[in-house]
Symmetry: C2
Subunit: 326 residues, 2 copies
């Protein structure tokens, strides 16, 4: 399964490379000195819609057959995936139907609307979302694109690590956060594809997760797909992009490739987020700070010489910064 998918990484990249941004890579002397490694941030916060999610949405939308695309695409999302599907559909010239909880932040609703998508509001719970989505698909005939449990979405996400590896073939470690697992599993595929033509690379991928949303860690440990606990749902991690259960296809790829997961505390996430804001002058979501926290807290051993980190997105509410809440 993995090799079958990884063989499609480079053609996926060729397909979407004219639509996505080739995002810049930043480094900082301070972080390199602190970690004792060369650390490269792949800045997907500069991707279209401000997040790597555009890569997966774009590939999924542009891979649809004409028949499947004819009636548009649909998804449910309160976050970046909804914006990404809306924007990709707009570029493709097909309708998009985005199911959003009615208490979603106004700025996110406006962003989705700004891409010309149809918004269908629902109550703010998983059941209402899924039922509303099913009804929308039934009524419109639109094609449902899952945010991460979707082969084409995962292949789209793989192109971030793929771009990074083309530019920095000397990497010996790639770190990503894990929410639904689309980015982590995509990065595993990208590395597999890279090694096919670079057999001397000893690079590996490690996933990073908040302790307060460690379902991927527990899934790997137990060998069975786990969900967030009731306590984790009640006291959610500040890394709001990672408050998602790991998907089945991502879990399969992560498990088969024997990929490890490192977990970090809430406090270390806030510290790492502020560290990146101050040292790199870039705005990153709390989710992106998780791999940086793992580095700063020395949760990744042994030491790697050249580390790439996928910075996933930058959609932040500037009126509610975590260091201003206390």
């Amino acid at each position: 399964m993995i090799s079958h998918l990884s063989e499609q990484v480079s053609t996926t990249y060729e397909k979407i490379s004219n639509i996505i941004h080739h995002t810049p890579v930043l480094s900082s002397t301070a972080l390199n000195r602190t970690t004792g490694s060369n650390v490269w941030l792949k800045c997907e916060n500069f991707q279209k819609v401000g997040a790597f999610k555009f890569r997966g949405a774009c590939n999924a939308v542009f891979t649809l057959s004409e028949a499947n695309a004819a009636k548009g695409v649909a998804t449910h999302s309160s976050g970046n995936h909804g914006q990404a599907i809306a924007k990709a559909a707009k570029i493709k010239g097909i309708p998009a139907y985005i199911v959003m909880p009615k208490n979603a932040p106004k700025v996110k609703i406006e962003a989705v609307r700004g891409y010309g998508a149809n918004i269908i509001f629902c109550d703010s719970n998983q059941k209402a979302r899924e039922e509303t989505l099913a009804r929308v698909v039934e009524e419109t005939g639109a094609y449902f694109i899952h945010p991460y449990d979707n082969k084409e979405v995962i292949l789209g996400q793989s192109t971030a690590a793929w771009e990074l590896l083309q530019e920095y073939p000397e990497l010996d470690l790639i770190l990503t956060p894990v929410g639904g697992g689309g980015l982590l599993s995509g990065s595993i595929l990208a590395l597999e594809a890279f090694k096919a033509s670079n057999p001397n690379s000893n690079c590996r991928v490690i996933g990073t997760e908040p302790e307060q949303a460690n379902d991927a860690f527990r899934s790997i440990e137990s060998g069975m797909l786990q969900s967030l606990t009731d306590e984790q749902i009640k006291n959610p991690t500040i890394a709001d992009g990672l408050r998602t259960n790991l998907g089945e296809l991502p879990f399969h790829i992560i498990k088969t490739s024997k990929t490890e997961i490192a977990c970090v505390s809430e406090e270390s996430i806030i510290n790492a987020m502020r560290y990146v804001w101050e040292r790199f002058n870039i705005i990153i979501e709390a989710s992106c700070a998780v791999p940086i926290a793992a580095l700063l807290e020395k949760k990744i051993t042994p030491k790697y010489a050249n580390i790439g980190v996928i910075i996933t997105g930058g959609n932040v509410d500037l009126d509610a910064l975590p260091w201003n809440r206390h």
Copy 2:
């Protein structure tokens, strides 16, 4: 004078290009749609020490004769120039003496110290700074590098616009903020140098300034070098990097080249700063928001098709953001 200096832009760039960062250029569909132009941000907030000032400091330090460099370099600064000189001197392997007001932000003091510079504290007024600097130069024999009224500093600053023009030769406008005038006059030199080999370019440079620190605007209008007014010193602009009087050499270059200055309100600066944070996911100082404010407020007419903006720096106190002060 201008053509004599502009002939040195490309050799300056060759001299320092291995020491400075070649900074990325970002754009956003939202800003392009709002302005009706293609706008490219040259991100000097990702430059070493987090500001374009490193370019000028670097060129000034690396242009010194061995005799002049032997005893080190000195300057007075509470901001980015001090860090830039400290870092450039460290790379060159010579001592740096930075005169700083004793109430300078701790984080800036630590940054300068982190580059291994000697810090000499003084009272927080212009007279104390200048007297302390004179004493330090007298005692150490260090070479004084002025933050903007210095030919080599201006040539170093010219390399930001020079890099941008190499990458985007289709630009028809370059915007910079104006404080002491080093960046604006450097950008004028870079454009002059670019036109020498691109005679069909119809690009021009316009400076932008807070109304609350409009000494450059008044200097151009009157033909005589003007200072900040007492009222402007008492109620300083939020763009703290621009609370500086225009220097003599920058004024000469700006005046001779008939460069225009557009002025913007304090409110528009804060709005533009937040706009860039939200739309570009980058951290910029208030000073960098001044040219963006001029675009958003339609202070620049007629409309230009392709606009480059030099984003000067990203050193911001995250605990005192302007939209959290009210």
